[in-house]
Amino acid sequence: MSVAPEQIEYVMPSLGADMDEGSVIEWHVAVGDRVARGDVVARVETDKSDIDIEIWRDGEVEEILVAPGRLVPVGTPLLRLAASGEAVAAAVQPDDAREAVEAGSDRAPDTDPDSIVTPSSRPPAVVRSGTGLWATPLARRTAAEQGVDLTAVVGSGPNGAIRRRDLPAADGAVSSDGAPPAEEASAEARPRTRADRMRRAIADRMSQANRDIPHYFLERQIDVSALMDYLGRVNSDVEVADRVVPAAAFVRATALAAARHGELNGHWRDGAFVPSGAVNVAVAISLRGGGLVTPQIQQADTVGLIATMARLKAMTLEARSGVLRSTSMGAGSADPDGNITDAADQASTITVTNLGERGADLVHGVISPPEVALVGFGRIAQRPWVVDGQVQPRHMVTATLAADHRATDGATGSRFLATLARLLETPEEL
């Protein structure tokens, strides 16, 4: 009785602890070939060298899933096999099944962090000798300089030890004259205000994004004269409060274009692009005192132009008045009570920045990880443009795309900008 052929997927094997991806140089089998356990089916290129990979089941090759030259992570299905012959009883579940065993227990079953005697992770027992006063050298010195009586100070350190922060508010600058030869350099301004802290957090995120993400940048001039006329008509018979500004059209067009070009709408996680079911557009809003927040419009592709305008207005007012409590600069969005949700379906999937408002013709943004694309719109201005062979003054805007070269390449980016332009040139469709 021969065993009915079983459909199995042969995946990129892991051939070393430091191998996490590989690309097929050439296939040694083709669709329809019969293979036997132990046959070499392809030659694979990795960081270190090229190596032959074997298949572990007899059967017939049904479909090659990965073309030579494409770099794929370990575990990616490479070919589909109609496996026949002896089915190995112990078809071991893939590794993540084992992870499940571990996942449940943080790093391992019955981990009791305190019981792990890593000398480094549990601070040494603090020896309490004598009844003397406990204060750090810095606290003692500062107190001496400011004439503060330490016995009157309540310490926040271990066993009530006094630290500098426990002293009455000094001017912060620790004078170093007269003290024993301290190595003290003048203390630089410490980022105390919320804006400073935000500035530092943005700097970290931007530099990390710039360092890790290989960007490519594309630009496109778009004639928005038709859009301006359209908005003029829409705004002429509504209250000033309900009028629609171009920024809303830019967000709306980006959402529709992102829905059409899914490769730019999602996240780069663990070395692979994860497309997103939803189009959640984050809008970069600059704050008066400096700093940036990126609240988002969820399922933006389903939100009409007028509704998009209303959302945009509300978000801007909230941001500028500080109501938007949590600064959601990342891909996370702020849910009503302000904590950042980074769940895959709620996280923003693409970002629009609209600094053109402040006079910049062209904006080259930096992607906010883990997203893979950022769309920028420059200033709308009248510029000479050729229409039907004639040079005329037209309302023009420069749209830019900053994209992650690991996820997509220029061709995809240009198609996205072309769709964006077409949508803005036919405003009725927004």
């Binding site: 270190k48 060298s49 530092r200």
Partner: protein, 331 residues
């Protein structure tokens, strides 16, 4: 004259450094197990034997004591050998040659001899290779007067520290952490030899100084980014040189931040971390607002199982937790 920055990996940067040494100085030879056809255990010397021939890129039998001793003799004889010991774990077989001969010869001979030799070896755990292949013993070598010990953590240092080490008249031990080879980085292709005695501040900050080297630098930087989101502004110092230690840079930083955490992939007891903590306490005592904190591997031969190994060596969240405890609670 510096050219535009070029994207490369740590492995390729080190290979270019060795290739340039072989191309520009015919006294340079490369000795080591499987450095030729096999291309080196971590593929650093891949292809060099085809370019420079098997005499100058020479496979050795498995005789660490033998071929390290031969490297010392060749250096005495006027060559500039680059000896590759596959990993610090196997260097223990050659410890006698390095400590009793390479490091001491100049002093014992009253200054008549010197040993211009570079010994490269990998260090560090993290690949489930179990105890005999996962030690971090760079601290042992940093203990020995007569040696210089360096640990490039970035592709740029991998490219430009070797020329300086080769030009140095003393034996230089160069450690490459095994997790760095695939690291991407941009380097200046026409830069030039860099200093190998000073530390580098990879991220400036005001609340705490995190001191790390080799594989731990990247974990410290990741921890600093997390800490930034939690309102702690961490300074990250990459030692680059383990002997001599750049005490001035350490002291200036800690005097400013009043808090120090030393992160070491080696063990805690009598580790290099202990030397650094003592040095900081001696020089910055009057500006410390909390004890100097040391974060090192658990005191255990590195285990095979992934979850045990992960738990044994310091991870990013261990660094974040230790820094928060120190800055918040002074413990």
């Amino acid at each position: 004259m510096t050219g535009p920055e070029v994207e490369t990996t740590y492995r390729e940067a080190m290979r270019d450094a060795i290739r340039e040494a072989l191309a520009t100085d015919d006294r340079v030879i490369v000795l080591g197990e499987d450095v030729a056809d096999y291309g080196g255990t971590y593929a650093v010397t891949k292809g060099l034997h085809e370019e420079f021939g098997r005499d100058r890129v020479r496979n050795t039998p498995l005789s660490e004591s033998g071929f390290v001793g031969a490297g010392i003799g060749a250096a005495l004889g006027g060559l500039r050998p680059i000896v590759e010991i596959m990993t610090v774990n196997f260097s223990l077989l050659a410890l006698d040659q390095i400590v009793n001969t390479a490091a001491t010869l100049r002093h014992m001979s009253g200054g008549q001899f010197h040993v211009p030799l570079v010994i490269r070896m990998t260090t560090g755990a993290g690949r489930q290779l179990a105890a005999q292949h996962s030690h971090s013993l760079e601290g042992w070598y940093a203990h020995v007067p007569g040696l210089k010990v360096i640990a490039p953590a970035t592709a740029s240092d991998a490219r430009w520290m070797l020329p300086t080490a080769l030009a140095d008249p003393n034996p230089v031990i160069l450690f490459e952490h095994n997790a760095l080879y695939g690291e991407h980085g941009s380097i200046d292709p026409v830069g030039g030899p860099v200093d190998i005695t000073q530390a580098a501040i990879r991220r400036s900050g005001n609340d705490v100084s995190i001191i790390a080297w080799a594989g731990m630098v990247h974990k410290a930087m990741a921890a600093a980014a997390v800490l930034a989101d939690q309102g702690v502004d961490a300074e990250v110092i990459d030692l680059r040189s383990l002997r001599p230690l750049d005490a001035d840079t350490l002291a200036e930083s800690v005097a400013r931040t009043h808090h120090a955490v030393v992160v070491d992939e080696g063990w805690l007891t009598a580790g290099l971390n202990a030397e650094i903590a003592a040095l900081i306490t001696e020089r910055c005592f009057w500006t410390l607002d909390a004890p100097v904190r040391r974060l090192a591997s658990a005191e255990v031969p590195i285990p095979y199982a992934q979850h045990l190994e992960e738990h044994a060596i310091p991870q990013v969240d261990d660094i974040v937790a230790a820094v928060n405890r120190l800055v918040r609670d002074g413990v």
